[in-house]
């Protein structure tokens, strides 16, 4: 008989993965987290505020990181990806590839490397809206607080950071490594990515600079975002006098994402409050098919509906045209409740792009079944999915689901002993 392994592997260090890992560890199990980004926290690190409480995600993340810091049972690997899985429930062999960070454990987070770095890279954390140095801290709340070097962005032959670092933390010749883990069960929590808005040609994302997506809006509104939290037009940095939110940009659509992404209605209502906060006089329109503010979220919907200058238009935004002289955007839609065709001008348009599971592209390297949108429909003994790998859901629901996944993982390792 094989030795039974009591440890659990969690793939993905976003809010679902973190939760599954920490909750299991706090029952007393050893847990490994494998995360592809150079930091933990995933998508929620890029969110400005959660609906409906309008509280900052970093608050909960800090608590989770503290739980990791004080619990030696949790070990994590960043810039890491699972390459293969073999074995069965209770005894999986997992190969993990660790991509080079070019910065070793000596890094103190002092920032000298970034200070001297002459090269720049598009800041993917802010969806390319600004730049960082090639030596960079992924974001201010990054955990672990370790710098990263984007080798692709480095200038040829430059070694300024190596010279500046007093702690020999930079290894420009760092190579990818592979590592083997033996675990008893696996939680797959690789989450989601925003649907590619360029596929919605009629909305002009990518062609019209002032058409942005809801995830970009989070960065524009965030104090640690590219504009320091000031919501302005990308084309010219001007203040907003009018803005529109376009719901179901990709979701509930046979040509794109078949399912409803379940969070976008609340996200747009929330983002409308961001705009209200900064521009009390701005005109705000939300184009929708159905407003899906389920359960107690209805309260938030009612609250936002009652705010001044917010108009909800029942009718999917049909297309967006740009006035290239002013950068303004015209949304054409059927205003169904008023039985009219509506053509309204806005300074900026936010597309409520939906969720696409990461597993739609990168499948679990094991026998799993997927639904038509790529969400994991069913796992295999010892491997279960958690959070938005399973269904489109908001943070509270994903956390609840990840907590459930922690129990399933425990059952797998316990059941084997």
């Amino acid at each position: 008989m094989n030795m039974v392994n009591k440890s659990i592997l969690v793939v993905g260090g976003g809010i679902s993965g973190l939760t599954a890992a920490i909750e299991a560890a706090e029952v007393g199990f050893d847990v490994f987290i494998v995360e592809k980004n150079p930091y933990l926290g995933g998508k929620v690190t890029q969110i400005n505020q959660y609906f409906p409480k309008l509280c900052p995600p970093n608050c909960g993340l800090e608590i989770n990181f503290r739980r990791i810091r004080s619990n030696p049972a949790v070990k994590f690997f960043t810039m890491a990806e699972v390459e293969s899985v073999s074995g069965q429930e209770g005894n999986f062999d997992v190969t993990v590839k660790i991509n080079p960070r070019y910065v070793n454990e000596n890094c103190t987070g002092c920032g000298k490397c970034a200070e001297v770095c002459p090269a720049q890279r598009a800041n993917d954390f802010n969806y390319g809206l600004d730049k960082t140095k090639a030596a960079y801290l992924p974001h201010q709340f990054a955990f672990p607080v370790k710098y990263v070097i984007d080798a692709g962005a480095c200038q040829d032959g430059c070694s300024k950071c190596v010279e500046a670092c007093q702690y020999n933390a930079i290894e420009k010749d760092m190579q990818p490594k592979t590592m083997k883990l033996n675990v008893g069960s696996i939680v797959w929590a690789t989450g989601w990515k925003p649907y590619d808005a360029e596929k919605l040609s009629y909305y002009g994302f990518g062609r019209y600079p002032n058409v942005i997506t809801n995830v970009i809006m989070e960065r524009l509104a965030a104090i640690n975002g590219p504009t320091g939290g000031k919501i302005v037009r990308p084309s010219d940095g001007k203040e907003i006098k009018s803005i529109a939110f376009v719901q179901c940009a990709g979701s509930r659509d046979e040509n794109h994402l078949h399912a409803c992404s379940s969070v976008c209605c609340m996200a747009s209502l929330k983002q409308a409050t961001y705009v209200r906060e900064q521009y009390p006089d701005a005109k705000i329109c939300i184009y929708y098919i159905d407003i899906r503010a389920r359960g107690k979220h209805e309260d938030f919907f009612v609250k936002v509906q009652n705010e001044a200058n917010i108009t909800l238009i029942k009718g999917k935004a049909g297309e967006i045209q740009e006035d290239s002289a002013t950068g303004q955007l015209v949304i054409v839609a059927e205003d169904q409740l008023n039985q009219a065709l509506s053509e309204e001008k806005f300074d900026m348009v936010v597309l409520a792009t939906g969720m696409q599971p990461a597993t739609a592209e990168t499948k679990v390297p094991a026998e799993m079944t997927y639904d038509e949108d790529g969400y994991v429909a069913a796992g295999t003994p010892g491997i279960c999915a958690a959070g938005c790998t399973k269904k489109p859901q908001d943070v509270a629901a994903a956390v609840a689901d990840a907590t459930a996944a922690a129990l399933r993982a425990i059952q797998s390792v316990r059941g084997q002993s």
Partner: protein, 293 residues
């Protein structure tokens, strides 16, 4: 490169310049065309509205059956013909129920279509089979400085969205224009409707649609419009007087089939340009490329 060629009804009539220029260009590019023997009308946008989709598709499938023995993919210049042939062909490949029914119908006239062919739009063939590099290499007289509004029209990119291009903001046609040395202008309406067959029953609809297209091209300082579809070209070209009258439009906008531009850029003999067929005179716009009557 061998193809079965489905010219469609208009190629023999209103779109003569298309046929002439295309055949010449194809020859120069090493494309071997074999016209489908005894082909019949695809039904255009109309037959389905009188007899229904399925009977119209069965009628169209006769062309596929006639082409199959030649064993080469079918190239189609007209967008409606392309739509009908391509959709019918796709149904043969993917819709078991359809295929079963259509097989039965074809059998009633002693025909059979095995579903072995692909139906290809002319732009698809130019970009993906011939290749932009080959086109570039054949260009002798680059159309440098010529600003072209590439009008793809409605059906071509939308029959199978994203299969070879963006259904609303297609890019391949602009790439062909670029390969000829010309400059494609922004032209946001490049895939909007030209008014189609409303030109007969309610010509003002066509005129209004064409007005949008022509002014958009003018806004972007295009010297001329290049078209892919015979119907589009005819509406834009022949109805331009009506457009001018209805909308007080002053300047004219020449409308060429893109194959005519290719023929010029590849420096084929003027016969291949077939410019005398164009109703709005293209000669001023093309004067600096040595194109004269």
């Amino acid at each position: 490169m061998k193809y079965s060629f489905y010219p469609g009804c208009s190629m023999e009539a209103t779109a003569v310049p298309y046929l002439k220029s295309f055949e010449a260009v194809a020859h120069a590019l090493g494309i071997e065309l074999k016209e489908i023997p005894d082909w019949n009308c695809c039904g255009a946008t109309v037959a389905s509205g009188v007899i229904g989709d399925y009977p119209a598709q069965v009628m169209t499938s006769r062309n596929l059956a006639l082409a199959e023995p030649h064993g080469a993919d079918i190239v189609v210049p007209c967008s409606s013909c392309y739509m009908n042939l391509a959709i019918t062909n796709r149904k043969f490949k993917e819709d078991g129920h359809f295929r079963q029914m259509a097989d039965e119908a074809l059998a009633s006239v002693g025909m059979k279509y095995g579903g072995s062919l692909n139906v290809r739009q002319i732009i698809d063939v130019m970009v993906n089979d011939v290749g932009l590099d080959t086109i570039k290499s054949k260009v002798k007289k680059p159309l440098t400085g010529l600003r072209v509004a590439g009008y793809v029209g409605c059906q071509t990119p939308r029959v199978f969205p994203w299969e070879f291009d963006d259904p609303e903001q297609p890019v391949f046609f602009d790439k062909i224009i670029e390969a000829l040395g010309a400059t494609p202008v922004k032209f946001p309406v490049k895939a909007r409707c030209c008014g189609s067959s409303h030109s007969v029953a309610q010509p003002e609809i066509t005129a209004d649609s064409c007005y949008n297209i022509i002014t958009s091209a003018q806004d972007d300082q295009a010297h001329l419009i290049a078209a892919v579809c015979p119907m589009c070209q005819l509406n834009l070209d022949a109805y331009q007087d009506l457009v001018k009258e209805r909308h007080k439009l002053k300047t004219s906008m020449p409308v060429l089939f893109f194959t005519q531009l290719m023929a010029i850029a590849m420096d084929l003999p003027p016969d291949a340009w077939a410019l005398k067929h164009n109703i709005v005179s293209p000669f001023t716009a093309l004067a600096k490329f040595g194109v004269g009557k």
